[in-house]
Structures are given as C-alpha cells and as structure tokens.
C-alpha cells in the first residue's frame, strides 16, 4: 500500500511549506484570540465601564447634598452663602453630563429608569436654572426654595433608581464579559485540542517514516551482505579457475614438449613428401597449441594477481635491436619492409622487465605483420620527456586497418578482427589483452588509431624510470664439484627431467637416488639415510607438499632432513604454503646448476662456494630440462660476437673440462663441430633446406650442448634461431647461417687460445 504521506519523497520546499502551514494553523487562532483579549482590556481601560455606577451614584449624592442645602436654606433663617448654594447646584449639573456622556452609556440609556430620570432631571433644570441665576434673590425667597426642595424630593427616588439601574447594567456587562471570556477559553481549548491532534498525526507519520527507513536500512544491509558474499564466492571461484588454468597449462606443457621432441625425431631424410607434409602440419599445430597455452598461462597468472614484473636495468636500444633482428626475418618473408627506429634521445638504460617489454613488442609487431599484406611496418621507440610517461613505442602498419567497432572490441578477450581471418592467420586473441595488461603494469597503456584499409597505429606510452648503466657485477660462478659429496634423493615423475637431474647431480659430484613420486620417496627415506631431498611440486600419488608433510611426521632423524622444493609454479602463495609445511628451500624450474648449488648452500649442506668471476652480467647458467624454453620470448640476443673472448665462457668451460673425462669431452666437441656430422652443420643444412621443425629441434639441442660446454656465442645464436623458428613459424632467414659458422670459428679459435693458456 502506498503510504499517505511519503516523507522520504519530500523536497525542501515541501518541508518548508508544511512547517509554514502548521505554524499558520497553530498561531493564527492564537494570535486572533490574543488580539481579542487585548481589545477587551483596552475597552475596559478606555471606557471605564464601572464608572457608570460611580457617576450615577455621584449624581445621586450631589442631588442629596443640594437637597440638604435647600433644606438648610429653607428651615434655617440664618443667612447662608448664596454662592455656596449655587455651587452645589452647579456641581450637580456638572454631574449630569458625566452620566449622559459617558462612553458606555448605551448600557443604560435604553432603560425606562434612565429615560424617566433624565426627563425628570431636565424638567428640574428647566425649573431651577432661572432661579439659581440670581442666587442672592433665591436665598431670600423661602417659597421658591420650598418649591425647589419639593422638586428635588420628587427627583431623588428617580435618580436613586438610576443608580440601581446603573448597578444592574454593570452587572449585566460583567456577565457579558465573562461569557466572552468563557467563549474564548472554549475556543482556546478547542484550538489546543486541534493542534494536539495535528501534532499527533505528524508524530505518527514521522515515526512511521523512521520505522520504514530502519526497515529499508536493514534490507539494504542484508542485501549488501549478500552481495559481498556473492562477490567473495565469485572471486574465490575465479581465483580457483585461474589457479586451475595455471596448473593445467603447466601440466599440459611438460608432456607437450615431449610430443614436440618426438615429432622432431620423426623428421628424417627418408620421409616421403606426403609424410613430411603430415609431419609439418603436426609440428605447426603443436607449436600453435604451445603458443595458446602460453597465452592462457599468462592471462591466468595476471588474473590471479601473481604476475610480477621483475625490473632490472635494461639497455633499451639493445632491446629494440634484438627485436628488429628477430622480426626482420618474418617481415621479409612476407615481403614487408620492417623499419625500426630508436630515437637518439632515448635514455640508454631504464628500469624495466626486459622479457615483458619484448613480449609487448613482439605481439604488436607480429600482429602488424600478420594483418599487413604489403607495405611497411614501422616501429618507433621515442622519448617523451614532457609527457606523462617516459618512453613511447609506436607500431604502425599499412595493413587492412580496422573500423571503429573493431577498435572498440580489440582488447576484449578472444576477440579477433575478423572471424574469417582467424583460420587464415591464427592466434588466441589473448595477445593484445596480455600486452595491454603488461603495458598498464608498466605504468602505461596501449592506444589504437586505425582506419579501415589504410592501416593501424598502436601507441604504447610506458613509464620507465631512467637508470644508470649497471656496474659489471661479478656473478658468482660456482666451481661445480667442490665441496661435499651429498646423498640426494630426487622425486621427479617426468622421465626427461629425471634424466636431466641425473646428469646435473653427476656433474655437481653428488650421488642421486631417483624415484617417481612422493610415496616412493618416503619408502627410500625409510631404507637409508640421505643428506637432502629434492621434491617436484607436481607429482602423481603424493605431491611435493604432501610428501614434505609426511616427511616431517616421520620418526627418527629423517624427519629433519632438508627438503628443497623444485617448482615452476607461478602462484605466489604456493611458496608460503610450502614454507608452512616445512620446506627448507626452493629451486625454480627449469633447474639450473647454479640455482641448485645455492639452494644447497642455503640449506647449509655445502660450504661457501669458491668464486670465480665471469665478465658480463648474463652468465650462461641456463640449462634447460628437456625442451622447455619460454617459447613466447626469444632468448637474449646481442650483436653477433666478434671476438674470441665473447665466444666462450671460460670459467664454465673450465668447469666442464675439469668435470668430464678427456675422451668424453673430445667426443662432444666432435659431435658439435665436425664438418661432416656435427650438430652445427646439421643445423646449417636444416636451415638451408628450410626444414624448420628440424631446425628448431637441432637448434635446441645445440643450444643445450653449447651452454653446457660454456660456448656462449653458439648457444646465443642457437637460441635465437630456435626462437625465430618458433616465432615466425616459417622459414628462417639464411642470414643466420654465416653468423652460426662465424660463431663456430670464433669458438674454435677461443678453444685453441685456452689450450695455449690454460689458466684464464
């Protein structure tokens, strides 16, 4: 039911008028009554009603005194002052007017007593006036005096009656006034009653209003609580989904690398063209799927809020050059011109996450190349000193462009410019969303400007803090093989990773015992003592966390064994949970020798390392397990090495030499460098024939071996080739072949120099 008065809907003017009406209704009658009473009082004071009686009485009295004087004059022969008698008469006369001219004479002037008295007085005055005109004559004329006295005698009762009438009139008037007052009192009481009722109604309405507001407040409160609950649930579900996605993509990627490797192995010269085509298609699909997985992993990491930028000093110009180097091939293959320009006033060094910065650039340039059939793709990195951000990246193409609707939806997840293009061009539709999120994390954004048929321009302002060139920091390089020989229990379900770990531990001079899951690890621990346990985070049967929990619950000294968790898990709270569970240290996947070394040191199992230093801040420590690079981003690539010093990481090489038997080393060198059968030449051949899946696989192998042996230049170029092949998913520029051969030559020269001067 709609309330009679909905106060909540009232506006200010309505309140003002309501109060005004209430005041008017209340105060007007009061004012009126007050005014009436004031008038009454004024009337009383002005008209002196009770003086009627007084005047009538005075008249009677003066007549009595005149009577007495007349009597005295007649009965007493003693001479009397004639003026005194006349004066009495005059006083009596003055009294007549006071009665007849009094303001409220209306109270009596209609009564018979008044008229009778007045006419009698008038008659008397008519008779007496001539006589009193000569007082001396009068006083000496007893007859006239007697006549006058008898007239007065006649007059006296009438005047007395007038006095009584005046008395009655005053009484009537008082009654009348009382009646008026009573009437006003009744009116006042009625008014007060009415006002009380109005007030009561108002109060009731107000109370109801307050009550309703309270109810609404309660409902709102309830609603907001429900909404908050719903939001929490939705957030939890979303977070769960993100974690699930992160885990799943990770879990899928690992076996997927195996699949890719196997596909590469199938690629042998003896295949028929049809088989080769099938294989090519399988490889392409697999690589595409890998790209999708990586995108999903990025998105879910962003959504779960765990993606963090790791900022470090970055040489912007170098990054631009690397990207140019890598993308030029793809552009050239499509017959496009790629113009890359870095402004001369760019800050040399900035604080940035180089990997993510490259990711943005790759994505935008890739898109530009994808959607441009002919013309130019221009990439510009300029300085915007006055703008809100420091650096602006612009990627401009002469491609198909987009209409405004497309631009609007461009950053929407899974949206693609043209659904028919999807099949032709491919991609997850996540790339731009990821890039924009990354740009925003860097304090910038991505703006699009596009015209259908004329091309598009993506502008990325980034807030990158200028910094100074980092000092050539001395990176500790572990002299592997030093220190204690540890008994290490490794739980790792993935055979490739297990194989890798075996080699790694062997190289580091530790004894490894391997099992496939946590449950087996617990059995092994029960069997014999170990110094440390390496647990994979994701394992079947019993995962890393559960295993740690079980180990800490063991009886005996094994309960306190050091546990190192090996994980690639990107979710941040994993670490905290693991620490809570009793994990001592972490080593990230893919596991590098130096990381393991440090983890062991932190556990107190190894002495402080004997340090040797390598120049450059990018020591080649990355040894990939299986074939798990971060495929979305090409590995660091610098300008082609020109000197032998850049070709080999001498210290790393020395480690290997000290660790491996001479004949093993020789075999490896032969496998790497022999002109007839070496990996380098196999890669060159694969590149020459344009067999890109083979190129990819061989380049990966080469990278791994070269890294292990400390051949920086070869590893660098091999990594670049591998990435280019993956990125472009197409033929790789033959430019890389001479560089690879050059690297090989430099490496060989460097090796010869080391032979001559063994102690670097």
């Amino acid at each position: 039911m709609r309330p009679l008065l909905d106060l909540a809907q009232w506006r200010r003017w309505q309140w003002v008028s309501a109060v005004a009406v209430l005041l008017a209704v209340t105060l007007t009658p009061l004012a009126w009554i007050q005014w009436q009473q004031v008038k009454l009082l004024e009337d009383v004071s002005k008209n002196q009603v009770d003086s009627i009686m007084w005047q009538a009485y005075q008249l009677e009295r003066e007549l009595g005194r005149l009577d007495a004087h007349l009597l005295e004059a007649t009965g007493n022969p003693r001479p009397l002052d004639p003026y005194e008698l006349s004066e009495r008469y005059e006083v009596f006369l003055s009294r007549i007017d006071l009665v007849t001219r009094i303001p409220r004479r209306d109270l009596i002037d209609s009564t018979p007593a008044y008229n009778e008295a007045l006419s009698a007085i008038n008659a008397f005055v008519m008779q007496a006036d001539p006589l009193f005109a000569q007082p001396e004559a009068l006083i000496k004329d007893p007859v006239r005096l007697a006549t006058l006295a008898s007239s007065v005698k006649v007059l006296l009762p009438k005047v007395a009656e007038l006095t009584r009438e005046a008395n009655r009139a005053v009484a009537r008037f008082v009654d009348e006034r009382h009646a008026q007052l009573r009437q006003q009192s009744v009116l006042l009481i009625t008014l007060a009653g009415g006002q009380s009722v109005v007030m009561l109604i108002f109060v009731v309405v107000l109370v109801r209003h307050i009550h309703r507001q309270q109810q609404q407040y309660t409902q709102l409160h309830q609603l907001s609580r429900e909404l908050a609950d719903a939001r929490d649930q939705a957030e939890a579900a979303n977070h769960g989904k993100s974690v699930f996605l992160a885990n799943m993509s990770h879990e899928i990627r690992t076996p997927f690398q195996g699949l890719l490797g196997m596909l590469n192995l199938l690629d042998e010269p003896g295949l028929t063209p049809q088989q080769r085509d099938y294989l090519q298609t399988a490889c392409d699909s697999a690589l595409h799927l890998l790209g999708v997985l990586n995108d999903i992993l990025d998105v879910s990491t962003m959504e779960s809020g765990t993606l963090k930028l790791s900022e470090a000093p970055v040489n912007l110009r170098a990054v631009v050059q690397e990207v140019e180097f890598l993308m030029k091939v793809a552009a050239n293959d499509k017959g496009l011109e790629l113009r890359v320009h870095a402004a001369s006033d760019l800050p040399a060094w900035v604080l940035a996450d180089a990997t993510r910065l490259r990711q943005i650039m790759f994505n935008l340039i890739n898109n530009a190349i994808k959607f441009t059939a002919q013309g130019t793709v221009t990439v510009e990195m300029s300085c915007e000193a006055n703008g809100p951000t420091g650096v602006v990246l612009t990627v401009r193409d002469t491609g198909m462009g987009m209409d405004s609707e497309t631009v609007e939806n461009l950053f929407t997840r899974f949206y693609q410019a043209d659904s028919s293009l999807r099949r032709r061009i491919g991609g997850t539709g996540l790339g731009l969303e990821i890039s924009r999120k990354l740009a925003r994390m860097m304090g910038g954004d991505i703006h699009v400007c596009s015209e259908l048929g004329k091309g598009s321009a993506f502008t990325v302002p980034l807030r990158l803090q200028t910094t100074t060139e980092p000092a050539k920091d001395s990176v500790a390089h572990c002299a592997l093989g030093h220190g204690r020989r540890l008994k290490v229990l490794v739980a790792e379900d993935h055979p490739i990773n297990m194989k890798y770990m075996r080699i790694l531990l062997d190289r580091m001079g530790h004894d490894g015992v391997f099992c496939e899951n946590g449950a087996e690890a617990l059995q092994c621990l029960a069997g014999r003592p170990f110094d440390v346990v390496l647990l994979d985070y994701h394992m079947p049967v019993l995962d890393g966390l559960a295993t740690t929990e079980a180990i800490r619950k063991l009886n005996g000294p094994m309960a306190d064994i050091k546990v190192i968790m090996v994980t690639a898990d990107v979710v941040n709270d994993t670490r905290q949970r693991a620490l809570d569970m009793g994990v001592n240290e972490f080593a990230s996947k893919p596991l590098r020798a130096i990381d393991l070394q440090r983890a062991l040191q932190r556990c107190g199992l190894l002495d402080e390392p004997i340090l040797s230093t390598t120049s450059g801040h990018d020591a080649l420590g990355t040894v990939h397990a299986g074939a798990i690079p971060r495929p979305e981003i090409p590995t660091r690539l610098t300008a082609p090495g020109q000197s032998t010093a850049d070709a080999i990481d001498a210290a790393a090489h020395a480690d290997m030499v000290s660790m491996l038997p001479r004949e093993t080393l020789d075999k490896m060198l032969t496998a790497l460098m022999d002109p007839r059968q070496s990996t380098v030449h196999a890669l060159v051949r694969a590149l020459e024939t344009g067999d890109h899946s083979a190129s990819c696989a061989i380049a990966h192998d080469l990278k791994g071996i070269a890294m292990m042996l400390g051949f920086k230049a070869i590893a660098r170029t091999a990594a670049a080739i591998e990435q280019l092949v993956m990125q472009a998913q197409d033929r790789v520029s033959p430019d890389l072949i001479p560089q690879l051969l050059n690297d090989l030559k430099l490496t060989q020269e460097a090796l010869r120099q080391i032979e001559i001067q063994p102690n670097v």
Binding site: S45, K46, Q58, E87, E90, V91, L93, S94, R101, P103
Partner: protein, 168 residues
C-alpha cells in the same frame, strides 16, 4: 498698596536676587477660586494663599490639546503650569493634596509636577469653564505625551472643580 510682607526665612533665601516683589502675593480682588495651604512660604490670607481667577490668568499661560477619557474628542486646555503656581507660593513639600468642590480629594506627588507639564486649566477649547463644565479649574496632565500617563493613576490625579491645594 496694602502689601503684606512675610519676612520669614524665604525672604533671606530669595534676598540674593533682591526681588522683594517676588515674595509678594496680592490679595485676591474678587471671589477666590483656589486656596493653597501647607508648606508654602508665600501667603496672603492667614496661613494660606488665595487666588482669584485674575491672579490665575496673570501667571504665564500654557496650553495643549489632548485626548481624555471625559470628552469624546481631543480638547484644548489653557492655564498656568501647576509648577509655576506652586513656585508663586514657594511650596516646598513632597505631596500635593488636591480637593474639589464636591470634596473629591487626591494626592499628587510633587515629582509629577516636576516631570510633566501639568497645567491648571481654566479654559477648555478657549472658553472659560463653569462649575457645571468641570470648571472653574481643572488639573490636566498632557496625556498624549506619554503612555504611562494614560492610566487610571493619572486620570485620578487629573482633578476637576479644583478648589484647594494642600502642600505636604
């Protein structure tokens, strides 16, 4: 000139002004209309001072028009200031007791005389007043000049048919 000189303390007091005639008050030449008695320094009939209408009119005359409860319209009163009249007899009391021909009696504080322009009217609307017209003398307050005068206190003090004043 049968001037009766009263050589009392007032003579010494007023002697500073060397105005012996000021102390003199002629005897009334016709029938007296007002008798002033009590604490007065100037007398002309035994212990009292008597005024006839001529003497009243000889004092400085003042007039004003005012509304009163006794007349329907505003009326004009003319006569000497009560203060002047009292000064003529060198009254030095605190209260005036006024008596009318009909023996009406009322006390008037001396302060009233000093504070207000009270006159002893002998003319009403420029005509002499007979006894039947509240005459011959009528003490009138200037009611229209102050609100506090329009109360019964001052209406009572406004005595008509005045015949005697006693200074106490």
């Amino acid at each position: 000139m049968t001037t009766r000189r009263t050589l009392n303390t007032a003579l010494l007091w007023a002697g500073l002004a060397l105005s012996a005639p000021a102390l003199a008050l002629d005897a009334p030449s016709s029938r007296p209309v007002l008798t002033v008695s009590g604490k007065i320094a100037v007398k002309n009939a035994g212990n009292t001072a008597r005024f006839d209408m001529k003497m009243i009119k000889a004092l400085p005359q003042h007039s004003f028009t005012t509304r009163t409860p006794w007349f329907d319209k505003p009326v004009k009163f003319t006569g000497p200031l009560l203060a002047d009249l009292l000064a003529a007899v060198k009254a030095h009391g605190t209260t005036l007791s006024a008596v009318a021909i009909n023996d009406y009696r009322i006390d008037i504080p001396m302060t009233d005389v000093q504070r207000y322009k009270v006159i002893v009217a002998h003319q009403l609307d420029d005509k002499s007043m007979a006894v039947r017209d509240k005459g011959p003398l009528f003490v009138v307050f200037p009611f229209d000049t102050a609100a506090e005068l329009r109360t019964s206190t001052y209406y009572e003090r406004s005595i008509w048919q005045l015949k005697a004043l006693e200074v106490r």
